[in-house]
C-alpha cells in the first residue's frame, strides 16, 4: 500500500512536470501534447484504442504461452539427451546472435500482416530466456536428490518428472519473468514492421498523421499492459519459487 502511494506520487510529479513543460515551454501540441490532452484523447478514442489493445494483448499472451511451452520443452529435451546438447545447443545460441528485429520483415513476408507474424516475433524473443534458464535449472538438480532417486530405483523418466522438473521450477520462473518483459516488445516490433491492427500499428499510424496525443494514449495503454503482465507473471513466479525452492 505504502509502495503504491509512492509510485502514484512519483507519477503525479512526472505529470505535473510534463504539464508545466508544455505550458511554459510553449511546445506545439504535435511535438508534445499535454497530459490533460492525452487523457482526453484516451477517453474519446477509447473504443479505437481498446480494439487495438485487444489485438496486442492476444499477440502478447499467445506469444508468451507458445514461447514458454516451446522453451520449456526444449530445455527438457536438452537435459535428457547428450546428443541434443551437443548438436542443438550451439544452434540455440546462434539464433540469439540474430537480432529478431531484423527477422521481423521476413516473418511478415511469410506469414502476412495478421497476428501470426507478431506472435512468432514474440515467441522467438521469449523462447531463449525460458529455454536457457530452465535448462540450467534442470542440469543443477541437487546431487543428493538424484542419488536418493537412483537408489530408490527410479526410472529416468520418473526421476525427471518427480524430482528434476519440480526442482528446476525456480530457475524456470526467472526465465519466465524475463519473458514477460520481452513479450510486449516482441509483439510491438512485429506490429511496427507491418500490421493492420494493434497498439504498435496505432502508434505508427498516429505518428504519421501528427496525432501525437493519440500516440501517447496508445503508448500509455501499452505501458499499462506491460506492467500488468509483469505484475501477474511476477506473482505467479513468486509462488513457484516459494514452493519449490530447495
Amino acid at each position: 500500500m505504502k509502495q503504491l502511494l509512492r509510485i502514484m506520487l512519483s507519477v503525479l510529479l512526472i505529470l505535473l512536470a510534463w504539464q508545466a513543460l508544455v505550458i511554459w515551454g510553449e511546445l506545439p501540441h504535435f511535438i508534445l501534447p499535454s497530459p490533460l490532452k492525452v487523457v482526453t484523447t484516451l477517453w474519446e478514442s477509447r473504443v479505437l484504442i481498446a480494439s487495438h489493445a485487444w489485438v496486442t494483448t492476444q499477440e502478447i499472451l499467445l506469444g508468451l504461452l507458445i514461447g514458454t511451452v516451446l522453451g520449456a520443452l526444449t530445455a527438457v529435451w536438452l537435459s535428457q539427451s547428450s546428443v541434443a546438447r551437443y548438436l542443438v545447443k550451439p544452434v540455440l545460441i546462434l539464433t540469439q546472435a540474430l537480432p529478431v528485429f531484423a527477422l521481423a520483415p521476413l516473418f511478415t513476408l511469410w506469414l502476412g500482416y495478421g497476428m501470426a507474424s507478431k506472435i512468432l516475433v514474440a515467441v522467438l524473443i521469449i523462447y531463449f530466456p525460458v529455454a536457457s534458464s530452465f535448462f540450467d535449472g534442470l542440469m543443477q538438480t541437487p546431487q543428493g536428490w538424484m542419488h536418493m532417486g537412483r537408489v530408490m530405483g527410479a526410472t529416468p523418466k520418473r526421476l525427471l518428472w518427480h524430482i528434476q522438473i519440480p526442482a528446476a521450477l525456480p530457475s524456470f520462473a526467472s526465465g519466465l519473468r524475463l519473458a514477460a518483459v520481452y513479450a510486449p516488445i516482441g509483439a510491438v516490433i512485429g506490429e511496427w514492421v507491418g500490421a493492420s491492427q494493434g497498439l504498435g500499428y496505432l502508434m505508427l499510424l498516429a505518428n504519421g498523421r501528427a496525432k501525437i496525443d493519440l500516440m501517447f494514449a496508445a503508448l500509455f495503454v501499452l505501458a499499462l499492459l506491460t506492467l500488468l503482465l509483469h505484475y501477474a507473471v511476477g506473482r505467479f513466479c513468486d509462488v513457484l519459487v516459494e514452493k519449490y525452492r530447495p
Partner: protein, 243 residues
C-alpha cells in the same frame, strides 16, 4: 519383498579419477548388524557408501562386491544422507511415498500413515518440510527410509546436523527401527559409533581397521561406562590418526 538381510563383502581397490583412495580393501559387513565406519574427512568413507549403493559413475573399483546370499545388491538398499533430502514441494506424507512414486508402484498410503504415526509425526503429515524442526525432518527421512522396506541401509552421517539431545533420540529411534537390517553407518562422531556400532571400522589412508565394541546391545545408554570407555578409546585412535 523383504528377504533376510545379507552380509556384504568388499574386496579390491577404489580410485577416483586416477587417485587411488583405498588400496587393498577387505571388508566384511555383518548380516543384520549395525556397522559404523569412522575415519577422517576425505579418506573415502562416502565413496565406499556410493560404491555399495551403485552410485559409481565417478568411482573406479577393481575387485568384488558380494553378498552372502549371492543376490544382487540392486533394489535392496535404502539410503539416508547428512541432509534429510526431503523434497520441499511435497507434504511429509508425499515425501514418505516418493520411493513408490519413483518406481511407479501402487501407493500404500495407509502404511505410510502408520509409520508416520509410529514416529510421532501424525500431526505433521500434511505439512511441508520447511514447517518442521530439524529433528522432525530427520524422523520423516527415517520414515521414508523405512517405507522402502530394504534389507540394507546406508547412512551417511544422517544425525550430524542435529543438536546433541535430538541426535541421541534419533540414534535410539533408528536403532530400534532398523533392527535386523544390515546397516552401514558413516560417522565422524566416536560417541555415536560407541552407542550404535555392533561392528566398528576405522578407515585410514589406504587401509581399513576393525575395532573392538562394547558387549551391550544397541542402542547403548549414553552414560554406560563401557560405552564411554569405547568412545574415549575411539577418540584417542582418531586423535592419533589425525597426527
Amino acid at each position: 519383498m523383504s528377504t533376510q538381510a545379507p552380509s556384504i563383502h568388499i574386496q579390491g581397490s577404489i580410485s577416483i579419477a586416477e587417485n587411488r583412495l583405498i588400496e587393498t580393501l577387505d571388508m566384511d559387513i555383518k548380516a543384520g548388524a549395525w556397522s559404523c565406519l569412522l575415519g577422517a574427512s576425505g579418506v573415502g568413507k562416502s565413496t565406499l557408501l556410493h560404491l555399495i549403493a551403485g552410485l559409481t559413475e565417478h568411482i573406479r573399483f577393481e575387485g568384488s562386491l558380494t553378498t552372502n546370499d549371492r543376490l544382487p545388491l540392486e533394489g535392496r538398499i535404502a539410503y539416508m544422507a547428512q541432509t534429510d533430502l526431503l523434497l520441499p514441494w511435497l507434504s511429509i506424507l508425499d515425501n514418505v511415498l516418493i520411493g513408490q512414486r519413483l518406481r511407479g508402484e501402487p501407493i500404500q498410503q495407509n502404511r505410510a500413515e502408520t509409520l508416520l504415526e509410529a514416529l510421532g509425526l501424525q500431526n505433521h503429515r500434511h505439512q511441508y518440510p520447511s514447517q518442521l524442526s530439524g529433528g522432525q525432518r530427520q524422523r520423516a527421512a527415517l520414515a521414508r527410509t523405512l517405507m522402502e522396506e530394504r534389507d540394507i541401509i546406508l547412512l551417511d552421517e544422517p544425525f550430524s546436523a542435529l543438536d546433541a539431545g535430538t541426535r541421541a533420540q534419533m540414534q535410539e529411534l533408528s536403532a530400534q527401527w532398523l533392527k535386523g537390517k544390515t546397516v552401514l553407518h558413516v560417522t565422524h562422531d566416536p560417541g555415536e559409533a560407541a552407542r550404535l556400532g555392533e561392528q566398528i571400522f576405522l578407515l585410514q589412508a589406504h587401509r581399513l581397521q576393525t575395532l573392538d565394541v562394547p558387549a551391550l546391545s544397541i542402542p547403548r545408554p549414553v552414560d554406560d561406562p563401557q560405552t564411554l570407555a569405547c568412545q574415549g578409546r575411539l577418540l584417542r585412535i582418531l586423535r592419533e590418526v589425525a597426527g
